[in-house]
Symmetry: D4
Subunit: 250 residues, 8 copies
């Protein structure tokens, strides 16, 4: 806890500038504020410079609308992840200004875009066309959190020339998000080429011995490049969020 604020409150009590009851409340708030930046349920209450986020997958369109109404009363920017097309239609009937990304199911409302929060650009790279939905979720998340994002899709390791063709874009990024399924080898290759922090997202793309993304996950955790850290399978949101954290001006 912030020593300064604590002593300040106590001094105010001591000097009768603050009642005991009010001090008790302030102390409670003080603590809450300390940890108040936390976000809940993976997506909720990203406050202070970040947009509000709703995890849409397990919520009905009606519930999503209700939460959005409450949030938009006090927030400029709202992100809803994993919204199916039909739910999106219902939500957009209520919020026509909402933008829907059909690739990843993200729904965004920007009453006023967030100011640029980033030190530089974030690159989001993916291996195959089937990984695009996860990559798009990362890109949308990072963008709405106030970052400039460049995307490079379908550049898997079985045809490296495709990756090399996008060298300039990737080389200038501050952080690189790499999504890949199957053997999950792309993050190692990218991290070997660029001395930047790489956030690797295994995807569940694959079949048989991919075991729902486990093969890609293990591959990324065992990367022979050291500038790689990994998030959960298919967690595009988390990768975009982490990249935004890293890219953030301090």
């Amino acid at each position: 806890m912030h020593q300064n604020k604590l002593e300040e409150i106590l001094a105010a009590v001591s000097e009768k500038r603050l009642s005991v009851e009010d001090a008790r409340k302030s102390l409670a708030n003080l603590f809450s504020e300390d940890v108040g930046f936390a976000h809940v349920d993976h997506h909720r209450s990203l406050r202070k410079g970040f947009p509000e986020v709703i995890f849409g997958e397990s919520k009905s369109a009606e519930v999503i609308v209700a939460i959005m109404e409450r949030m938009l009363a006090q927030e400029d920017v709202v992100l809803v992840t994993r919204v199916s097309p039909d739910k999106a239609q219902t939500v957009r009937a209520r919020f026509p200004e909402a933008v829907y990304d059909a690739d990843c199911g993200a729904l965004t409302v920007e009453k006023k875009p967030l100011p640029d929060q980033g030190r530089g650009e974030i690159a989001v790279v993916c291996a195959g066309t089937s990984d695009i939905s996860v990559a798009k979720e990362a890109a949308v998340t990072a963008r709405i959190m106030g970052n400039s994002v460049a995307t490079v899709f379908d550049v898997g390791v079985a045809g490296l020339h495709r990756l090399f063709a996008h060298d300039a874009v990737i080389a200038r990024a501050t952080v690189i998000v790499v999504a890949a399924g199957m053997e999950g080898a792309l993050p190692s290759v990218v991290a070997g080429m660029y001395p930047k922090p790489v956030i690797a997202v295994p995807t569940s793309v694959g079949y048989g011995a991919s075991f729902g993304g486990l093969a890609a996950l293990l591959g990324m955790l065992n990367s022979c490049a050291s500038n790689v850290a990994v998030v959960n399978i298919d967690n595009g949101f988390g990768a975009g969020y982490m990249a935004a954290m890293i890219n953030r001006k301090q």
Copy 2:
């Protein structure tokens, strides 16, 4: 590949300022330099602003000495990881200026310390006393790569007041490395409290159903806080390296 350099070389050939043979060599180098920043075998050849790193675990003291001699001929800073105490003794007989960290087995030589590479401070936090060796490896790695590092050890989730006591140190960090074994819950708690990128390192501390760190690894991958990314079990080196990448001035 850098378009500019490529065209420059070709223009020089065209203008006869460069022979075909020399151009061929330059093109080869150009490509190598592009990806030359890569480090090999987890530890080797971290060039351009980073120290040289040797993975000591599977190498004899004699081999380590031999590699160090070659490296120190052209490098200012060398890091050898996972050196046992008896090997360390042999190495230090040859390089008395080498500093040995008995907690994590890292051995460092700094002919001239690297200039400060970081935007801010890196905090390295660990849950139990048994996690200290992994945390120290992260700290030594980040420090020798030119970063200011603060450590907060033994602040596991079963006694959160210990963590809160170090609030000021953690709150001011740019990046936070968190090492934990057993259930691996500390990164979630830390990431919930501080809006900073958290690099989580599962450790193999535990027994029975910890399955050599698997329980901690899965816990961290499933963190309910989104500002968490994970490296391999016991990979303190990788965590420190990744943190240095994130903290790096651009």
Copy 3:
């Protein structure tokens, strides 16, 4: 087997107060009574001070009604777990006095509530909103078994201030049930704060490397707090039952 009853029966036979045939039957009953407290199929025949319990998931509404009719002929209290809303409607058409908890699918009939069986209060805590169904099953089970139950929901480790806000409720409990999915870290934190027996219930909430609750299960088994014991994934019924056993007056 109860020595006393056995000798009593034998004495009665010896003294011709009991026929050989009746003695044979009594001995059979004696044994059965000994182990007769057992409940079958996870839910069946919780006799002697506990309500009857029916596992509703794999049974049709008609079968549930038939079993309830038979049970209510001799029991004051019946609990049916995991009843879908449409089955619940059918059942309540027959038993309008039945109370349905839509969150967890528990259906209860109390002709006459059980007398208070508990030494104190049971607290049921859960990490996220998605864990509420499991937590409610635990709460309903413990309550219908004659316990006073307090619930504290949505207090995950990524925002600990929420947990601290409910300190008074949790602190006074005799036993604490904690349900959590994803990394399953909440039981460790709660058990670290309160010197009470904590029954941890991993939930299948999560995706990717949560592997259907396995990550949470392993996390809880490896808790760095020792006052934690674990039940099966999503087994809210078992957690509530175990808590009732612990809280029971003797």
Copy 4:
């Protein structure tokens, strides 16, 4: 946090009975005391009515002696778990009053035994002779925490008459700890016979498809009896600790 104490401190500050500096310290202590009951590193600092506990496995005899000296300065009772025979000899040379249990490696010092903390007796049951070390660790832990403990060893499910022979002892217990390796079936059988809370401890006894205790662990988690909760493989200390928590007078 305790509202009363908080308001009391604030009132004292307001009334100048307490300086701001002292109040700051008191508030820090207040919080620490709140969660201070936690024990660290599985074994450390079990305060307030519980003995001090040291996890001996990874510590040298010298370190154990040093910690014991510090602890015994202010504690009446100390428990050191998993001490090898040769380390025990060194420790007992310094503390001749220490009692060593060669079966489980527990070393205890009781300057003055703890007063009886239990509501009743704890029964510790194990399946085979190879499970005795784990069962003894549970028994020693529960006993030193101020409980009366009865042990019933070598009563596996392949010869149930052996279990039945100990009916009286088990039937009178308040809590039952059951340790078993291989298929881990004993807790189900015991829990089916006795309506008491059963703490199941899987042991790593077995080979082949027992996978280091995994088979027993899964068996116990899937118990068809509901009054069973499970601790980590070979975690006799945790089982005894949990049983003591449950048996504790409030």
Copy 5:
């Protein structure tokens, strides 16, 4: 290969009683007959004293009817396993004499029952009501293969008195099949009580950490009773078949 037949054929060739061409065919047949007892695709062509068996799960009613027509042309007894109720209806429209077991989906036709093949009786025991379908498949299979079968259902280890009540039936069996899900402990208990070969069938009954029957499977493989051997999860057919093999008169 049968030496006698081989020499007989060769002698016949030598003596011109058999042409080279016919001898070549005979030798081919000789070999086929040698291994011809094999059954294919788990269920096909159980010849020589066993009925024909069809694995119905992945076949349409039309295909089942077609195969049955062909088989019944030359066989007295046919067994079709895992037939859904609606497929069964279609099949029975064509073969009204077919008997359908709705519990396990087995469909049998006996133009003329097989003569008794067994040395004694086979007992089929199961733990819970949900295991009955697997147990019934074992029973139907064993019965149609010419065995006398006794069934004892719903006698799980959490209420052992139920098992003891059926002592006489189980005690007289030559072979015992035991099906159980969840922790799969019943085969150990039964094998401990009766010195008979026990064929254990794990079932997929359970949830969470039962992992589709894996917990029961591992439990049975680690049985502390040695007269237990195990078949695949839910493989009632295999258990009944194996029991029939064991019970077979030679």
Copy 6:
């Protein structure tokens, strides 16, 4: 990179026969051609003597038609794998010349068959009738890549005489593909009999402890015959492709 071509381009630049801009483009192409043989997304762009391949499973009929139209503009042969019957109908309405294999869902168009690419014949063998779809995918793939293919189906290890009956066909093959589910033993037996390279394909045929083909996969990886290499579960396409690579004239 091809030294010759590189020097040739540079010489042309030096001699002004090639502009700097054209040289830059040529160098880019040069590199691409180097790795240009790669195929992307498991199925895409198999150039230079191989047909084009489309992975149909996750694509709509409309998308498949669109891609086929573009491909057939410049290719003689196209293969679409894993097309459902209804999608196939739509595709064939547009391309009546397309041939559909209902067993494995492969759809092929051959404007002009590829010339024979093989050194010899490829044999595709499978264990049970349920493995035929995977085996057919391998056979269709190898055939369309310009190979002569012989198929031997339903020759599982439980009836080896069936395998022996096809000796002549298998013995003359250059490469053998063997598909098997359940215990996956057939590749070992085949590889033991024929000194040829065997490509083993585990299939997901089975239930219970087959764990979706894992049992067969592990069996094949542990083959006691050394002339066996393995592809992913159900990956008939990959097996046929690999066999074609091996059989290819050089």
Copy 7:
């Protein structure tokens, strides 16, 4: 429990031929005798026609000698499994008549051989030379339990002609034990050729993806032949015991 004996005792009490006290004792014995056939700790107390068995692996030579002395006082035959050569030497110094099988570490004493217990011969087959120790343990166990045993070693599936060469021996057996490591395919092949009960023993022979025998275990559980049941990895004792049970005259 035996109805007859129970009524007999009760009648004796009723008729004063038996005192209440004696009747109580008899009833206790009655129950114990009922289940007394069980063997404990995998190896102990195989009474009534079977030899005594001691699991030697975790016992010192001294303990083994002590138990043997006690056992041989009342038993004709004793089996000690898994005795290392040096322990065997110590034991044989005390019991020179003991026979030691160095292949599997079994040590046997036969004061007087058990009479033949078997209906026929047991065949023990193994795949490779490394599987011989497990196969020998099965053979020694079955033999000492009063069975005629034939062994066929080193007949793995990669060279089937070796298996065929032993056709006569295997064909005449009543039960077949098959031990195999690596892919564990031999039981399927044997069971496909011979319509006999096959007890499959996976061995831990192998490396890499054999995962300590898991590959062989899964292969055997998924056998496409139905006359196969499986025991634990390396459990030669259990396989021999089970085979003896099956072969036993009734």
Copy 8:
């Protein structure tokens, strides 16, 4: 079986050119020869153009010498794999002409080298220096089987320029063996660049979540390049053997 030989034998019998007894023997041999090419125990009896192979790991130096003596009596070439340096010394004392490869422990004797068996050259590639032992085993095996072998070591995916530097060597190979540990990504990259059959060997190099080579194994099985097939972890022998099979002239 070979029809021709069979009819030939029968004709000879018919024409009295062959006695019945000799015909019986010939038929037995015929069959054995058919399958006689098989090699047993992973390494034994690779006849007809391949050298004899002995798996040295579990054999004493004396046993190895004894087997070699027997083999060299009739073979020109012998390969012993996995021989430790001290065993190698003993063996070479007896066979001074034996060549020992200290990197992989292979010991070879060539009385007369095998004639060239290959269609072209085999390339053996590995990712890191720690993978060299496995790669060398593959290379030695392929070479002694009569192949020309080129090796390219230490070209992992984190520094692709190293791989590109060896383009010419790899491009001209008929078959490519690729060994890699950690994430096992190299085979995908190589197979994407070269349209040749790639035999991938996962190695156990790595730690933590590499799980003894499992991560690399899964990565290779899920390769996005289709010209990849996989052998067991660390199975350099098998990879070299398979490559020799593929490269073999027919």
